[in-house]
């Protein structure tokens, strides 16, 4: 009784009846995970849990993540054109499921709330026997679900989460992140900003008043100040703010000539729309053109902001217009199935699913500890971001970061960003210890 | 010195002098009626007695203690119970519960956090409320929702609730207003019986002369916020000032 035991599958017979009153039938009592880890798949299939926002403001992003997962499952089971499996440097995956087991999946709704996300992750682990949880589109959810998976003894492959905390102070041995983070955004953006806007700039930050905002502001500030920029002011804005006029109006008075919007999602759409509305970009300050920077871009958010993104710099994890073989294969595969190009959220989720499957194949086991070991310090290529390292110390992927700009003349509703620069891995790598946190030991559960 | 002494009470609402200089003394164990035409200030005076309003001037003493500045529930705890013009009862509760509440208020005071006590085991209270219902001839209706009672029963219930607190002074605000003649007579009988059965002082504000003259031992006539005369019913009947005040009013009312 005292062992953590969350599984449904792989029942073994012990013949003992303990404490269940009024039972006269012969019963099978599951006392322990025979295989030594939570939800060890038995039989011919393995269940993965896709935990994405299906309601709430990030529902569209979640829908795209879900499409990517469905595609990944199809490819893993040998369907479709195989997608990135053809370009992936590791050739462990055979298209016959994972370790010969057919991949099945269950879905849940995170609602972009940590409570709801944990509830749905727990239901997938406890009820559906999911051996891995993946997905999500905010750092709050990622950190919460990651901690849960650590406790339950399953692997968590993070979806879209950009805060340093996920693989920083809140990192966990069972959690892995392919997506980049605030630090990398800052490090990648700063040189490009200096090249384009000069090193003598005065920046005004508007920062979403929560963890992700703080780390992003910090990252961009540090790296731009290192280039010679001055930070005039940094103002925190409430998460629930919808109209940013009172924050944007004083920007020009401050003498700043660059506005950095450390916002994501609806906040970013609204603050950027408001800033452009105020005509900031038509202004001349200190003899220079006034500029706006959005550290973290996503195509879906760019779509929400419409024409306002034109010419605005930002960073992104991946973009469908990349021309490497991996990206092309993924866009081809996704686009053929769904009729439009994938978002960066879709990409990172698809890649995470494949990386997990590959790690299981290489480890020869679904045991989270074995899988974790296979992922740690794993180097791979052909997944769309160039050569990539899954660093063992913090379970963070290190790869090239894209600096993008809102496109001036989009040809379609998906063609909103253009790649300005691919910042090489070496420029965005940092020491794993700078964000603190403790990875702890891997937990196989049962 | 009566049980209730009102001295020099005045109350203004903006530009309106609702009460001028009211002096009134209600003798213990008497039935004292306050009558007067509409707008004479009867209700204002009553509200000053029970703590709903605080007079601008003067004093109100109940049994030697000032009631001014006290909250309605404190004044009630001093021994003054009030019956409203339209019966104020707990409509969502049963008749029995309606009767229990004042019993508890009498025994346990203004606030007792007895959240764990089982009410059905409190036989003292149940008996007291049960007796009171019997006295009011309502024992058969104890399980009914109070809101579903007839108007006359609601009035009985309200009076019973007040009596269960064993008040020393019972204030009645036009207790028969809007009642049919039969109900009015029943109420008069009830009040007479109450008067006969216990040591209680009754102050009654009333419009209906029939009621007043059936019950009152003393009558104060109020007009335009000041007492016109105070005397026994017989004297009041023929008093020219009263006739004058009422004639004027009766014409208006027609």
């Amino acid at each position: 009784m005292s062992k953590m035991n969350l599984t449904r599958r792989g029942v073994i017979q012990t013949g003992a009846v303990a404490g269940a009153a009024g039972l006269t039938l012969p019963t099978y009592l599951r006392a322990d995970g025979h295989s030594g880890f939570t939800n060890a798949p038995e039989g011919s299939s393995v269940t993965l849990g896709f935990n994405v926002p299906q309601t709430g403001p990030y529902a569209d992003e979640g829908a795209d993540e879900l499409r990517a997962y469905e595609l990944a499952v199809e490819h893993l089971n040998g369907g479709g054109d195989g997608g990135l499996m053809n370009t992936f440097s590791s050739k462990a995956l055979q298209g016959n499921g994972i370790l010969g087991k057919k991949v099945e999946y269950v879905t849940g709704d995170t609602q972009t709330k940590s409570d709801a996300a944990r509830a749905s992750a727990r239901s997938m682990i406890e009820k559906d026997g999911a051996v891995m949880i993946t997905g999500g589109s905010s750092s709050g959810v990622a950190v919460a679900v990651q901690a849960l998976c650590q406790e339950a003894g399953v692997i968590f492959m993070a979806g879209l989460t950009h805060s340093n905390d996920t693989t920083g102070k809140d990192k966990k041995a069972n959690g892995f992140r392919h997506f980049f983070n605030s630090y990398m955004s800052g490090a990648a953006l700063a040189p490009i900003l200096a090249n384009n806007y000069g090193t003598d700039r005065k920046a005004y930050h508007l920062t979403a008043d929560y963890n992700w905002g703080y780390t992003t502001e910090e990252a961009v500030r540090t790296s731009t100040e290192a280039m010679g920029w001055e930070t005039v002011a940094a103002v925190k804005t409430p998460l629930t703010q919808t109209d940013f006029s009172s924050y944007i109006a004083p920007v020009l008075q401050s003498g700043a000539d660059v506005l950095v919007l450390n916002h994501y999602g609806g906040n970013m759409v609204n603050s950027l729309t408001n800033a452009v509305q105020f005509g900031l970009r038509d202004k001349q300050v200190n003899g220079k053109n006034f500029e706006i920077v959005v550290p973290l871009y996503s195509r879906l958010m760019a779509k929400g902001a419409g024409a306002n993104v034109k010419g605005i710099f930002g960073s992104t994890n991946w973009h469908w217009s990349l021309q490497d073989e991996g990206s092309k294969a993924f866009v081809q595969s996704f686009g053929t199935k769904y009729g439009f190009p994938p978002s960066q959220a879709a990409h990172t989720c698809y890649v995470q699913a494949l990386l997990y499957a590959d790690a299981v194949e290489r480890a020869g086991s679904f045991n989270p500890c074995a899988v974790g070991e296979a992922l740690e310090d794993f180097e791979f290529d052909g997944m769309g971001n160039g050569p990539t390292l899954y660093r063992g110390e913090d379970h963070q992927c290190f790869k090239d970061v894209l600096v993008v700009k809102g496109k001036e003349n989009p040809t379609s509703e998906f063609d909103l960003l253009e790649i300005v620069e691919v910042t090489p891995t070496s420029q965005v790598t940092y020491d794993a210890s700078i964000f603190g946190g403790e990875l702890g030991a891997c937990n196989p559960g049962a | 010195m009566g049980i209730l002494d009102v001295k020099g009470v005045g109350k203004r609402f903006g530009g309106l002098q609702a009460l001028g200089d009211v002096n009134l003394s209600v003798a213990e164990n008497s039935v004292h009626a306050i009558i007067g035409p509409n707008g004479a200030g009867k209700s204002t005076l009553l509200n000053c007695l029970v703590g709903k309003l605080i007079p601008d001037t003067g004093s109100v003493m109940f049994d030697g203690q000032s009631v001014l500045g006290r909250k309605p529930y404190e004044i009630n705890q001093m021994g003054i119970s009030r019956v409203f013009q339209t019966p104020e009862i707990f409509g969502d509760l049963t008749v029995m519960e309606n009767m229990l509440i004042p019993c508890f208020a009498k025994r346990d005071g203004a606030f007792t956090p007895n959240a764990y006590a089982a009410m059905r085991k409190d036989t003292e209270m149940l008996d007291r409320a049960g007796h009171m219902l019997e006295e009011m001839n309502m024992a058969d209706k104890r399980h009914m929702h109070a809101a579903s009672l007839s108007r006359g029963d609601k009035r009985r219930l309200e009076i019973g609730m007040c009596l269960s607190q064993e008040p020393r002074l019972l204030l009645l605000d036009e207790p028969t207003a809007g009642m049919a003649r039969a109900d009015t007579n029943n109420t008069i009988d009830l009040l007479k019986q109450i008067k006969d059965d216990r040591d209680i002082t009754i102050a009654i504000i009333e419009h209906d002369m029939h009621v007043v003259f059936s019950l009152a031992e003393r009558i104060t006539v109020l007009a335009q916020g000041t007492p016109l005369v105070e005397d026994t019913p017989d004297k009041i009947k023929g008093h020219p000032k009263v006739r004058e005040a009422y004639l004027g009013e009766s014409q208006d009312a027609a």
């Binding site: 002011a233 103002v235 006029s245 008075q253 105020f278 902001a305 419409g306 439009f340 379609s412 998906f414 | -």
Partner: protein
Amino acid sequence: MEAIILQVLNGLDKGSAYALIALGLTLIFGTLGVVNFAHGALFMIGAFCAVTLSRIISLSHEVVDETQTDFLGNPLKVEVPYVYDWFGQAAGDTIIDWAVPLSIIFAIPVMVAIGVLMERGLIKHFYKRPHADQILVTFGLAIVLQEIIKYYYGANPIPTPAPSAFVGSFDFGIMLGFEPNQIIYPYWRIIYFGFAAIIIGAVFAFLQFTTFGMVVRAGMADRETVQLLGINIDRRFTLMFGIAAAVAGLAGVMYTPINSPNYHMGMDFLVLSFVVVVVGGMGSLPGAVAAGFLLGILESFASMREVLNVLPGLNQIIIYLVAIIILLTRPRGLMGRKGVMED
């Protein structure tokens, strides 16, 4: 000084939006005695009227452009709006550009119809029910409405820009003798303020100077008496609900260029608009307007970095803090009547 003038402008602008939403809410409460939690949804539907109309206007057919390729390497299919075919590209662009102002004409009948439908179909049956039931049923309706919108339009915000003629901002500073760029304000927000002022004025004038309005005002004061006079107050109230819905809808239409509309914008405004109405005093039209501007201005001042440096986090709570202080010092809000919604 410049900073203060700027925040007053911001406050007026924010306040006009708050007042406009609160106005419809308190109108419905005042006339019908109904607490309408679906009012935010009406605001949202108004905004989506603009989205819908601009989609209708820019309905397109596909033309294959062999010179360009799409993301899969196939020839690019270019969407050509029908208005290009009918009016030529220049005129077509202008029409598409003016979609938001055009939506006003489109939104009025739609919103009035929705309002009347809502009142006749649902709200009517709730006049005599407790306020808690009204809150719940309208809240349920709000969820249903926003889910329907989400089903058809997605969860992502949809950019709905103002006509290009109104892009950019007006420099008040130069007018007042300050340096350029010190006090600038976007044209569209100035228009929004003016629009709100006109609507608020129109509603007041309508209630003040028309017979219809007089009956409604009398009905707000005492419904039964008016009914005794043999006036069909119910029909007038139905229309009043339609008008309130239209006011909310128009507020939504005009708001689209300020923030890209999304399906949950109504819920975002719901709590705030209730705070405004209650601070103003339930059922008081001038109260709602005054509270809208008061909260708008205070919120703007609380967002100044000079203030936040001293009191970090004040911008997070200012609205609620003000609401608490006002309700504790003025029991029924700024202009509330006694006995309304107190039980």
